[in-house]
Subunit: 239 residues, 2 copies
């Protein structure tokens, strides 16, 4: 079965967490919005298309199914492409970690849009400074400290979040590190040495043959100032 | 099996979405933090207790399992207590809706804490006004419009979000309506007539015998100014 991924064409955004799983899973997929006419097809599905109406992209068409919400898509893909444990306890644990990553992603987004997604960054810059200061001082270290501890306590070894092999939350953690490096290079220089296991998970994921090939391809959209991770030098303090 | 729910003792918060499912499901559970010494037991589990370390409450102990993240807990409970469809497509759809409710809840929380959870409301009141104005004008109608449309398009009837009977997202939608009425009575007076199906779901859930008994009991913590839904009259505009 060939999947159809629906997500905005110009950004990594939340769609990237799905792309990484599709790529590592060796799944065949069409990145619909990046094809000619694709954004229109996506808007059509959002407007009226399916029985299981998505609130927002990303969503995945898998045969008859249309699945939305990033973590929900990963839950579905994880079980089918060897990116999640087979047992229920393991699947719930991987999903729990993914939902915590989703919370982290929301907070990363809100550093540059603390007042309203519908306003320009420039119209909430002052508030963005205050929110980002708190984020870099408290929230980012709290989330990173949590995932470092999860790695440290994994009985199967600290190279993966769940069990002894790579699962979809590892891929998402890779993306978090890559994105934070783009958005906050100065703060990350200070933070990274405190979280060596997280950095190792990033490196392990980046070195997987399929992920390495993906990152080197033009399927990987470069980070830019329209996605979740944005680099505004005035926000990137030492914390 | 008797469940143990771990959540802050003094607020409904995110724990309430789990409590409603436990109550409607007729599950036996202990609300641990509300017992003597319970908050200490919770802090201990958060600090070091379990193999599957939670990032934050709520979390549920179910025999050997410790499950965190509200939507993940509901996914688990839904399948065991007749509060979710049995088939995979239905379970993913219910979960997708729950994750969208979780996003809505995050945005409701951030109306009064747009800059930092660690700061008092009074220290971010100006920013809270701006964020709430956008929330009441754009975001709340967008989410409510979405759920109204989902109800309208449910082929099994518009009295439930998923299929022909009550599922856990219905209970969470009840809580959203109850909470928004507490926090924004003025805005809700204006909004509610536009979303009659959502109001009906609220009423249907409230009339279920187990939910009605729960709401009348002292197990239901009253809304207050420490939870997700807070009533600050200066934020509650006509939109």
């Amino acid at each position: 079965m060939r999947y159809e991924l629906y997500y905005w064409a110009g950004i990594q955004g939340r769609g990237e967490f799905v792309r990484l799983a599709l790529e590592e899973g060796g799944a065949e997929y069409t990145d619909v919005a990046r094809e000619a006419g694709g954004e229109n097809a996506m808007q059509r599905l959002l407007g009226e298309g399916s029985a299981h109406l998505p609130f927002a992209p990303p969503f995945l068409r898998a045969g008859e199914l249309v699945i939305a919400q990033t973590a929900n898509i990963l839950f579905y893909l994880g079980g089918r492409h060897g990116l999640a444990p087979a047992d229920e306890a393991g699947r719930l644990w991987a999903h729990q970690l993914q939902l915590t990553i989703a919370d982290f992603v929301d907070e990363i987004h809100d550093t540059h849009h603390p007042i309203a997604s519908s306003l320009y960054y420039e119209d909430q810059r002052q508030e963005a400074r205050a929110r980002t200061a708190d984020f870099l001082k408290s929230r980012a270290p709290k989330y990173l400290g949590y995932f470092e501890r999860v790695l440290e306590r994994n009985k199967a070894g600290d190279r993966h979040l769940v069990g002894a092999s790579l699962t979809y939350p590892d891929l998402s953690l890779f993306q978090i590190v890559a994105g934070l490096r783009y958005a906050f290079p100065r703060a990350m220089t200070r933070l990274e040495p405190k979280f060596p296991r997280i950095v190792a998970v990033h490196d392990i994921a980046a070195a997987r043959p399929r992920i390495a090939a993906y990152l080197a391809s033009d399927r990987r959209i470069p980070f830019n100032q329209h996605g979740i991770f944005r680099h505004y030098p005035e926000l990137d303090t030492d914390g």
